[in-house]
Symmetry: C2
């Protein structure tokens, strides 16, 4: 498939401008970082309720994660190996008055003042389900556990594409336990996700996908992930029909989290896990793109669900 990259870039700029002119989003000096209007936020929260209700009572009560998480989670989840270019590591200052004077001297001279800082015990959250795993260490009950979580994630990938934000929220349903349970969770949610998003009038389809693993070795990891059919995405045109955007992703992790976090299935083997993540900002943008920038003009069946 030959894709006209410059046409896609133009479409990204056009949609971004449309959102900014309507003040649905407000730009900052950093690409991919936006202030959200009350309208945008109302859609995000309506989506949260809409998606959450689809979970039913099999899930433990929803947990909201703050935007930062313990540093150990980033290391144990092997995120540094797979996606080093996306991490947000947090530094802070723990020095004395003299060291503070040096910090200010560097800042005033427009030099790199961050050399006066040291790593904090926290980093930005890499994916909504990551902060969940440390608390699950130990042996799980038969049938595993079903969790529902939401949080702000950070990915350092500055872009003019409004659908590629550096800060965005994922709403996730996670299963951890036996391998069969994990695979079933992934597949059931993939179908349910397609139904949910279709019912909002979005022209979605599912595709076999690979994560954007970093570097030379990463290309092999992504190929292997596709060969073993671990990851599917639900995609929807936002700024391109040829290159639709992933607005949801359903993943079978094998024991990628169970093993390093010491989570055991009922039989004592490292637990397998799976999750589906709904990208709340991206679904909101898909709705604004598909049905128009003014929610009061959306089709009745969509308004009924999201804009009563």
């Amino acid at each position: 498939m030959i894709t006209d990259i410059s046409a896609t870039l133009d479409a990204q700029v056009d949609f971004r401008d449309e959102l900014l002119v309507a003040r649905i989003l407000v730009a900052t000096s950093v690409d991919g970082l936006y202030h959200r209007s009350a309208i945008f936020e109302r859609i995000v929260r309506a989506l949260e309720t809409f998606v959450s209700e689809a979970g039913g009572d099999r899930y433990e009560p929803l947990l909201h994660f703050p935007p930062v998480m313990p540093r150990e989670v980033l290391v144990k989840s092997d995120y540094l190996r797979s996606f080093p270019n996306l991490v947000g590591s947090i530094d802070t200052f723990t020095g004395n008055d003299l060291e503070h004077a040096e910090l200010l001297r560097l800042a005033d001279a427009d030099e790199d003042w961050t050399q006066a800082l040291i790593p904090a015990e926290v980093t930005l959250c890499s994916a909504a389900c990551h902060p969940l795993y440390p608390g699950l260490a130990g042996r799980l009950p038969e049938g595993g556990r079903h969790a529902e979580v939401q949080g702000y994630c950070f990915r350092h990938e500055p872009s003019i594409d409004p659908a590629r934000m550096q800060c965005f929220r994922q709403h996730e349903f996670v299963y951890i336990g036996e391998p069969e349970g994990a695979l079933a969770h992934r597949d059931e949610w993939l179908e349910r996700g397609l139904e949910l998003l279709s019912s909002l009038g979005l022209p979605v389809e599912k595709v076999l996908a690979g994560d954007p693993f970093f570097g030379r070795a990463g290309r092999m990891l992504a190929a292997n992930q596709k060969d073993t059919a671990l990851k599917f995405e639900i995609v929807c045109p936002i700024t391109s029909t040829e290159l639709p955007t992933a607005i949801s992703s359903a993943n079978y992790h094998l024991d990628h989290f169970g093993a390093p976090f010491g989570i055991l299935a009922a039989d004592g083997a490292p637990a397998h896990s799976a999750c589906i993540g709904f990208g709340l900002e991206r679904i909101t943008l898909a709705l604004l793109r598909t049905h128009g920038i003014d929610p009061t003009d959306w089709p009745a069946q969509v308004r009924l669900r999201l804009w009563p």
Copy 2:
């Protein structure tokens, strides 16, 4: 006043344990970092609506800020001088395959892998109103501007006190324009804030306050701030009646933001600003402490407003 510090610490641990046992909050491995239950989040959002309605239509539409902001905001707001110990600076990785191998070698050897990172163009948000100022550069209309903003703030101050979180949300009303307008905004909101929080059955009072400026020079800054009566806090007992917690803060900034961000009042002078910030997590904790851990048992007039 002699305060029994150890009794205060005990009370902090007791209240924290009560919240964790009831699963209102879920602890992480880092002090001051919690996952929020759906109950906690429902109270936070009800408070958001309650506070927002008090603003009336004088304010521009509410903006929600993401948890990170452009790095320049931290520098221009002089936060490094006043509160270096609280900052969250963000580093990321922009290297090649070879540099990635070195990053992984450091991480695998349990050495400081963050030395392979470089500062990103963003930092964590230091206060809810800070990301607002860059967008206001230029000359303001007569009478200034009235903004309403909310966002997650980060302060690196690990503590077992549940009311001293590292990540929390502030809901702010900001005025920027003429000096008289700023002072009036601060004073009107201080009274309105007291009324609002009292109407929720919280035993609040206002106190003249100083910011916790860093270091030796900071002690003079705080004394000066008190002498000039720039900052007031609305405090409420949470884990101590002798040392009540600030749950809201009303500040007159003089031209502290107007000058560095190039914001001019209608007469061309650097704009003065003032804000009131409502600490949504702290007010939630004050409610849970004052009225009990189960919102369905709260007094009728409080339930009517926050838990219908």
